[in-house]
Symmetry: C2
Subunit: 379 residues, 2 copies
Amino acid sequence: MKFNIRRSEFISALNNAQRAISSKTAIDVLTGIKLTLSATKLTMTGSDADISIETVITEDNEKAALVIDEPGSVILPARFFNEIVKKLPEEMMTISVDARFQATITSGQAEFTINGLDSETYPHLPEIEADTKLVIAADILKQVINQTVIAVSTQESRPILTGIHLSYSNGELLAVATDSHRLSQRKITLADAGSEVYNIIVPGKSLNEMAKMLGDSTDNVEIRVAENQILFTFANISFYSRLLEGNYPDTDRLIPQSSETTVEFNAVELLHSIERASLLSHEGRNNVVKLSLQVADQKVVLNGNSPEIGNVEEDLSFKNLTGKDLEISFNPDYMKDALSSFGQTDITMSLTLPLRPFTLVPTEDGENFVQLITPVRTF
Amino acid sequence: MKFNIRRSEFISALNNAQRAISSKTAIDVLTGIKLTLSATKLTMTGSDADISIETVITEDNEKAALVIDEPGSVILPARFFNEIVKKLPEEMMTISVDARFQATITSGQAEFTINGLDSETYPHLPEIEADTKLVIAADILKQVINQTVIAVSTQESRPILTGIHLSYSNGELLAVATDSHRLSQRKITLADAGSEVYNIIVPGKSLNEMAKMLGDSTDNVEIRVAENQILFTFANISFYSRLLEGNYPDTDRLIPQSSETTVEFNAVELLHSIERASLLSHEGRNNVVKLSLQVADQKVVLNGNSPEIGNVEEDLSFKNLTGKDLEISFNPDYMKDALSSFGQTDITMSLTLPLRPFTLVPTEDGENFVQLITPVRTF
């Protein structure tokens, strides 16, 4: 195996493949990165068994200036290999691997020799031969993931809740996550509606990692689903994740269909007020803040307090407060996550009773995006 | 106590005073920041017993727009107070403290109430009444500290070596640090030479912290020394540090006066080569790299290796290699620190024997700046 390549392009593809590699893996070979050189392209693969990422540089990529001398493959220690390549002195570099899997990396006057492994020892990537695919613009997919992944459970006690539930039929994609204290739900309509029906649960960790790799472009991401795997393809990247097995709880019935009190806020202003209130609640035993909705007085007051440090009280700005007076207490961190997911927009908060879940939706489009939070009992 | 002030200016002075505050202090009151409001100025004080920092905002500072309603003083929990002030909604804020040391912080609609302490419980700052002072430009002082502090010992076994030895006489300031494996020495001449003589040892940690606060301006820093304290005054900041007690070792005799081999490098190029070699040496048992100076062949080769990972070899660029052939091994981290302290410049390396210390000096000015490193025995 021998090739010559421009370092900057190589590093970018290497970094992407390496995102799948965990330093904590128990499987020794997965601390390595697999390089496979065919007659026309270089493929790099990283994996932590749950997620696998494959990046490809083809010979016709002019920026990479890949020159293939001799096809072959090898596994190299990922962390070192990356550090070495980053620190090489020149723009171009040459990698050659001998029959004993010893790699020689040369750039300018620097010559590194590192010990590699036979690529035959690397696990095979899942094979996803699905003919059908969903197509979504990268920026939309990224938004859907970021808006729902906040409600994914981080506890392993109910593994199914560590995933995002994706269901697709009739051109409509529904993403739901809940950790049983809060819920995020986002709906989008896809342009090329096929007849497929999907009902899968993807680990939140996988989707989070993938969202970080998605740009804010409108380039298409292709999604293919096999029995226990999902494959996202975009740019020169193939991102594989295993699926979670089991039945996702029926979340439809959790979202209240009516309300006793409603009020509108600017999401960013409310976020800042919650951040102030949480400074003190974080020190208290319960980490809760209290919101008082006083309809007759047309007043909304937010309170945070810590017996040791002190307390904070703030009169909030709002619009259209109607219904019954209400006082609720909730975890401000859930509220911060929810509010951050809306961006700079007006939201409508709908409440029923002090201990019943309340919802936040964009005032302009309450149908396609809901954040739900369960209050906390403080008495 | 009550005042109104522009938040941005207040935060900057607060952050500076807070640099002295350690979250790990055993003295409870030192987790607080002391605010003292006189008829004309606000003073904030932070301390960890070793270092104390005092910042002042006067009434005539237009940017701060300080309006003093009622003088007084209080100690507030530093971390919270800082977080609260940073998150307040408006440009201006008001702080008032009642007779029970409860502080109310108001800005816009947000009102925080936090529990403070009687400022009488705060330790007194050292009093330094020295009439005589040294005056140094901030950028020069920062450079002298950064160039020498790298060689300060981090081991408490010989506490005196955790300091930088500063000696001053006849207008010449000499700064020396050594951890017994390496040594940094920098000499500067001060413009206003007074007749004082100083011979003190300042904790490296204090000087490091102070250097971070010094800008790259040529504004003057005033230095005053008392029996066991040093005071640096610049901008609106007074920085106090205790001195280390004891005798600093005689370091003059450690610097070799002659050499058998000399060679010149560009400091930055050599630094990059050392960084590459250390990638592998860091994994080895000894963390050493090997430099071979081959005078007859006019060749300089750097080697790093790790039995597990592999090795690196590089032909270095150099100038004026003269004297005897030599092969030395050294800790690349010491070399990286030393080379970084030179910046983009040519340096001369002077060596005697494989196990005797070698020196690096700027080729253009070998008198005022020396980095010395002791090689490592590898056989």
